[in-house]
């Protein structure tokens, strides 16, 4: 089961100056704590049933690719920078950071932090942990993100990172979950080791079966990691996950089957956490291939989908309609003023006619590997499109190998994006000309001009205007049908208390439910 990797989403605020962020965090954190239902209490064993994880899961941080690996990693490791529940950058192992020119970045490493083994976290450990993901021989999934780094060196308690060109967003990258800080031996990290400086120490780990952890007594964050211990269980079958929660075998589950959300909530003993995020489901079209190379055809398809029905039936209401916009309402520069594309077969027919067609036959390839309910969504799409003389044949591909054999290979398929908190990140990753993951192969000059220009624009209004125009271009000229933003839907036993604010950035509270939640 492969998940598409996501890059971390962060706001632009406090990018160049970690100290500002730190102040901000310092101000916000107590506020959020007071808003919580109760003061966190220590104690208890948290059992989390996660819908991912397999026997073949590896330990190499460069290859962590599923929610189980991510939550497990977050429980035992820290990164240089954390993203807090409000999507703000917060110092973690890096006490502060700064960059004068955006090209040379200085991270000051926190002192007095030690690994579970008792060994103090040193600058060398940090450098080795970062170096694992770059260089010729690395197999890390975030090699492309680390590619601009030309040099990493120690400078006292600081780590100095040099880039090949200025990049104001570089601090985001340091919050990526792959970049766990691990102990180094001879300048290399041991990828098989579970030793970290996070809140929990690994007692046992059987891939695909369970991991048990106990609280790190020396954890440097005194107000985090409230549980005495953790049991992380991969439970792939969604019914089994539900049963486990309902019979009290676990306290938390993720990915609740939309069909059962209402019944689960009505049953009592637990509550549903439905967190709107930036994640969205898409149907990318290959804009180079006929008939999708004609924007009229693309528009016809965009008007032939009933977005509200998809939200109602595929997400059971736990999500929002999207106007083919990869930038979500949670984003700062979200464009709320675009003309909404509602289901309109006549308009679809009109655009078909514009394209010189009476009817359209296309094949839409989908698998539930793309997103849960993707096949059903495709079927619904095909049903609504028929009224517009568009005949969509749904081809279900095997879940196995979906990302290899279908995505970016078939001209019209299902996909999803975890979303990016930073607009530039999202657009650069998936819509920029020549981008490695530009799954629509879309090329638009005006869009590129705006995208590159916006990076260096300081004026907020001007930037907003530029990003609004980019969103409009993607929505009305782009080749991705984006019908909805999906919520992260989790269910927790009543005994589990959560902060008022749960991170919209990643599932299970930014992978950090083990660190941020407690037993009431």
């Amino acid at each position: 089961m492969t998940m598409k990797p996501h890059q971390s989403g962060l706001t632009r605020r406090g990018l160049l100056q970690g100290a500002t962020a730190m102040t901000a965090a310092g101000l916000i954190l107590p506020a959020s704590m007071t808003a919580a239902r109760a003061e966190p209490k220590k104690g208890g064993i948290l059992r989390v049933g996660i819908g991912h994880g397999s026997t073949t899961d590896g330990m190499d941080p460069g290859l962590w690719d599923n929610l189980y690996a991510q939550v497990f990693a977050a429980a035992r490791h820290n990164q240089l920078i954390e993203v807090d529940a409000n999507s703000q950058l917060t110092p973690e192992i890096a006490e502060s950071w700064e960059s004068a020119d955006g090209q040379t970045w200085v991270f000051k490493i926190r002192e007095g932090v030690s690994f579970h083994s008792g060994k103090p976290v040193t600058v060398e450990d940090v450098i080795a942990s970062l170096n694992h993901h770059r260089g010729e021989a690395t197999t890390s999934a975030i090699k492309p993100l680390m590619a601009p780094v030309t040099d990493i060196k120690a400078d006292g308690q600081n780590v100095v990172v040099t880039l090949d060109a200025p990049n104001a967003d570089f601090a985001y990258i340091m919050s990526d979950y792959h970049l766990a800080i691990m102990p180094a031996v001879d300048g290399k990290i041991d990828v098989q080791s579970t030793d970290g400086c996070g809140g929990y120490v690994v007692d046992s780990y059987e891939p695909g079966v369970q991991a048990t952890l106990s609280r790190n007594p020396n954890y440097w964050k005194s107000d985090r990691a409230h549980f005495d211990g953790l049991e992380l269980l991969p439970i792939l079958d969604s019914a089994a996950r539900l049963n486990a929660l309902m019979t009290g075998s676990v306290d938390v589950i993720d990915q609740v089957d939309p069909a059962t959300i209402d019944m689960l909530a009505a049953r009592g003993g637990n509550r549903i956490l439905s967190i709107p995020g930036t994640a969205h489901y898409t149907f990318p079209m290959d804009s180079r291939a006929a008939p999708y190379n004609d924007n009229n055809v693309r528009l016809a398809l965009k008007y032939a989908i009933d977005r509200q029905e998809l939200v109602d039936k595929i997400l059971a209401g736990h999500g929002q309609v999207s106007n083919d916009n990869p930038i979500g309402p949670a984003n700062r520069y979200f464009n709320p003023d675009m003309e909404a594309k509602t289901y309109d077969p006549d308009k679809a027919k009109f655009y078909l006619k514009e394209a010189g067609l009476d009817s359209l036959d296309v094949t839409l390839t989908a698998a539930d590997a793309a997103f849960s309910g993707a096949v059903d969504a495709a079927v619904l799409f095909s049903e609504t499109a028929r009224a517009a003389n568009i005949n969509i044949t749904v081809d279900r591909a095997p879940n196995d190998g979906y990302w290899d054999n279908v995505w970016m290979k078939q001209p019209f398929c299902a996909s999803y994006w975890g979303g990016r908190a930073v607009e530039d990140h999202m657009f650069t990753t998936a819509y920029a000309t020549g981008g490695a993951w530009n799954d629509t192969f879309w090329e638009n000059e005006r869009f590129m001009e705006l995208l590159v220009g916006a990076r260096s624009v300081v004026d907020e209004d001007k930037r907003r205007e530029m990003y609004h125009e980019m969103q409009h271009l993607v929505s009305f000229e782009g080749a991705a049908i984006i019908p909805m933003y999906n919520n992260y839907v989790m269910a927790v036993a009543d005994a589990v208390a959560t902060p008022e604010k749960i991170s919209t950035n990643w599932n299970l509270d930014g992978f950090r439910c083990t660190e941020r939640w407690w037993f009431a």
């Binding site: 590896g58 197999t139 089994a240 049963n243």
Partner: protein
């Protein structure tokens, strides 16, 4: 007894041949799988460079026959290799799960075999009675539902009422009693699945013999029906009964992926499915060979037991 050992020897040799064919078939099949391990590990973020680097690191850049040969020669030296995906020794990955799988299989067999033999013998004794028909209909109905459905129903009835856990969390340190309690539902599900087959076979094997002259002789010796069945029919019906038990035991070891998924039971089936979807060929090979070996050995065991149970084969003239 000498010829029994000779038979065992021949069958073992055939078994090795079978395992060899299995390994070639499985290797060939995994070669045909779209994508490879490197692709799976890197997922969407794969770039040509990282793919090439990972492939070289994993040895996937060598031609297929070379990889098969490397694997085979290591295997023959007792080295299962390491999982390509997570670099753990495959023997470690497998050993705990093999134990779990065997535990569950034996548990289910311990429930199913006595039940089905008793039911089968009673059905043969009271053939065409209401009991016989009810047992038959009940058994047929039990095997007519998809396994996962039986499992969900049992969860609904027995787990949600709090009697038994709906998921099995066992590890090597779990107490035996706890294990029995935890694994009760999967074992019960499997019992329901296999009982019908064994029961019907037992009944049929016994009834088949009832027309034999020696059964008529037993009746003419004035023996009671129960004694006739137990003493005169069952010993001669052992071979087909042993065979069907072995077949079902093999099924319990190799065919329970669905039950493992539903009850989150850490067994070999789940490992195999994971390994297939991750293209972790070394693990696929190892598990497939264990399954095939279990099948071969159980069949061999059944043949040996059938031989031992049959004086004609055991004591030649």
């Amino acid at each position: 007894m000498g010829h029994v050992w000779k038979m065992v020897g021949q069958r073992l040799a055939l078994g090795v041949l079978t395992l060899f064919i299995v390994s070639v078939v499985i290797f060939g099949a995994t070669e045909l799988l779209p994508g490879d391990l490197a692709r799976e590990l890197l997922g969407q973020s794969a770039t040509p460079e990282t793919l090439a680097a990972l492939r070289a690191q994993l040895g996937l850049d060598q031609p297929a026959p070379v990889r098969y040969w490397n694997w085979l020669s290591a295997f023959l030296q007792g080295d299962f290799g390491v999982s390509m995906a997570n670099r753990r020794p495959i023997s470690d990955l497998i050993s705990a799960r093999l134990g779990n799988t065997i535990f569950l299989a034996l548990y289910a067999a311990a429930l199913a075999v006595p039940i089905s033999l008793t039911l089968g013998i009673l059905a043969a004794l009271w053939r065409n009675s209401i009991f016989d028909r009810a047992a038959n209909v009940g058994a047929l109905s039990a095997i007519s539902f998809p396994e996962f459905f039986v499992a969900y129903i049992l969860v609904l009835w027995l787990a949600q009422t709090g009697l038994f856990p709906s998921m099995v969390r066992i590890n090597p340190t779990t107490e035996f009693g706890d294990k029995l309690y935890m694994a009760f539902l999967p074992a019960l599900t499997l019992t329901l699945v296999v009982t019908a087959h064994m029961m019907r076979m037992t009944r049929a094997a016994i009834i088949n013999l009832l027309a034999s002259p020696y059964i008529e002789m037993a009746r003419l010796k004035g023996l009671s029906p129960m004694r006739i069945i137990l003493r005169h029919a069952v010993p001669n019906a052992l071979a087909p009964i042993i065979n069907v038990v072995a077949l079902n035991l093999a099924y319990l070891i190799t065919g329970v992926v669905v039950v493992e998924v539903v009850f989150v039971y850490p067994g070999l089936g789940q490992l195999m499915v994971d390994a297939v979807s991750n293209r972790d060929i070394a693990v696929v090979q190892a598990v497939a060979l264990i399954f095939a070996a279990a099948y071969v050995l159980l069949n061999l065991l059944a043949d040996v037991l059938s031989t031992l149970s049959n004086p004609r084969l055991l004591h030649r003239r």
